[in-house]
Symmetry: C2
Subunit: 77 residues, 2 copies
């Protein structure tokens, strides 16, 4: 698995741009500091559960859609 935070931020950016929501607008919608949102957007932050939910609500998506995928070793019985 690539860096999970990077995978999260890639999913965040893709959903954000698909919904035409700028970083600035997302910061306003979530009442999260603009520069902190920039760091979230770049996957530089170990964000909290509550912040993750705020972002999902602002994007009107399910929190699960933002989560990274973990590869498990299939042949492990």
């Amino acid at each position: 698995m690539s860096d999970p935070r990077q995978e999260f931020s890639e999913k965040l950016r893709s959903l954000r741009t698909k919904k035409n929501i700028s970083q600035e607008k997302l910061a306003k919608l979530t009442k999260i500091d603009r520069s902190y949102m920039g760091r979230v957007d770049r996957g530089e932050v170990n964000l909290t559960f509550d912040t993750l939910l705020k972002i999902a609500k602002a994007l009107e998506c399910q929190p699960a859609e933002l989560m990274p995928h973990i590869e498990y070793n299939k042949d492990k019985t």
Copy 2:
């Protein structure tokens, strides 16, 4: 939506018991303090992204499986 943290902890407990992993064992597997894990298990903690991933990996599930579902107002066009 019920309290999202409660919904998270319900999903965590259900996966944990399905896989026969006690709170204590999950605390050991994730190297998270035993009493802190108890609070996570009860939905009392605003846990971080990294902790959420540690828990998902220990349960060998996808982080998305632990996330609460958000109801959006369907008739909002």
